[in-house]
Amino acid sequence: MMPAVAFADGALEDTPLLSVRGLSYHYGRQLGCRDVSFDLYPGEVLGIVGESGSGKTTLLSCLSGRLPPGSGSIHYDMAGHGLTDLAGLSESELRVLMRSDWGIVHQTPRDGLRMGVSAGANIGERLMAIGARHYGEIRAAALDWLARVEIPANRIDHLPQSFSGGMQQRLQIARNLVNKPRLVFMDEPTGGLDVSVQAKLLDLLRGLVSELGLSVVLVTHDLAVARLLAHRLMVMKSGEVVESGLTDQVLDDPHHPYSQLLVSSVLQV
């Protein structure tokens, strides 16, 4: 029950969208993540799983340009330039890339939304940041995206503060996808939500990812979420990737002792 990978005719894209080699990060002397390497192809959803403190979020922060990697390289397939070393970009070039090509969905909607402006403005702001100026078109796009994330149109002028946690998270997703990014980073997007609200959000994410052909790096400690959304997984422990591969293979036939422990620790319902 996987979302489609974005190659229809059986031929696979040969240029990765994101190519990471030997990425490490230390907080002072404390290890964040060590020697992480992978390629992410267009339309692929990569899940990063592991317990708290395993380095998942550190890795995500490095990948999404919010922490400068201590060592190693990150290359991104920039429109018109091909694979480009992100370390060679100026801060303003990186900001443009983040605004136009990338999205970041935070675990806590407050970290990804502007709580002081309306739902419509939260979505419209992203369009204006990449040059949209026509008020009618921006409002129409905001309405369209509210509908896609199942928020009633009559809430467009309300502040996110008046929304439930699940609605705030869906608004954050709309804000991140309105610019049609190619790559989206998600940090525990369903964390902290009720199970029934989670199911709705997961279904929505699954549909959008496959419909828009998004590439996603998804950090989660929830293996059910990983199974539903990710094409392949990296299992992290103590800052290092201990196992990686096809999602159902890692979950159904885990090889590393830690992966086996992780999978066998899930409560069955």
Binding site: M1, M2, P3, A4, V5, F7, A8, G10, L12, Y41, E44, A199, K200, L202, D203, R206, S210, L228, H231, R232, G245, L246, T247, D248, Q249, D252, D253, H255, H256, P257, Q260, L261, S264
Partner: protein, 234 residues
């Protein structure tokens, strides 16, 4: 001259190492070889625990073999499912290799009709055409139309299994893996599943299946692969 195999298993070995039990290793099979041509249906045979499901899962790359190859025809190529990258495996599964598991993995909120139509839609089939075919399959498998718009989570075991079968047959895969497809079905539905398997063989599908039910096994299979004598020979 014989046609080329659609599925070719070469010298396959699979064991499980359980680290929580001090690295206890359980060998399931070793040195298995098997080939299936278009239009053939190979029934895996052997007592419970002999490794039939493990072999089927290894063919689908759900389990990772220790050694050997699982070659599956994918367009003009043969892809080794044992060593292919995750995205290659997913491409083969989408286009060339179908799998009907014993249980339906339900996704919250997705209605039965869409569960069945999704594999074809993912391949680029027009969604309406895919849903028409899904509706035809659900009708043949006697799922009442009033259930089609509902997510299968609340369906009975037999109904879920029939939705699962309909999903597996919604795309004309060149190769098909069937894990006890008739396990929880009544006689009428078993007969329908038998018809679906024979139709798939007629259009040239290569099939590997586990059929507990002797009647269906005799009806649909072209040969029996005895997993225990294959293990002894190795």
């Amino acid at each position: 001259m014989m046609a080329d195999p659609v599925i070719e298993v070469v010298d396959l070995a699979k064991s499980f190492t359980i680290h929580a039990r001090d690295g206890l290793t359980i060998a399931v099979f070793n040195g298995l070889s098997l080939h299936v041509r278009a239009g053939e249906c190979v029934a895996l045979h052997g007592p419970s625990g002999s490794g039939k499901s493990t072999l089927l899962r290894a063919l689908y790359a759900n389990y990772k073999p220790d050694r050997g190859q699982v070659l599956v025809r994918h367009g003009q190529n043969l892809v080794d499912m044992a060593s292919a990258s995750p995205r290659e495996v997913l491409a083969v599964r989408r286009l060339s290799l179908g799998y009907v598991s014993q249980f339906l993995r339900v996704i919250p909120r997705v209605p039965a009709l869409d569960v069945v139509a999704q594999p074809a839609i993912d391949l680029g089939t027009d969604p309406n055409a895919a849903r028409d075919k899904a509706a035809a399959l659900l009708t043949r498998l006697r799922i009442a139309e009033r259930l089609w718009r509902l997510p299968p989570a609340t369906f009975s075991g037999g109904e879920q299994q029939r939705v699962n079968i309909a999903r597996g047959f919604s795309v004309d895969y060149p190769a098909l893996l069937l894990d006890e497809p008739t396990a929880s079905l009544d006689a009428e539905n078993r007969a329908t599943v038998g018809d679906l398997i024979l139709e798939a063989r007629e259009r040239g599908a290569a099939i590997v299946g586990i059929f507990h039910d002797a009647e269906i096994r005799e009806r649909v299979s072209t040969s029996i692969f005895d997993i225990q004598s294959a293990k002894r020979a190795a």
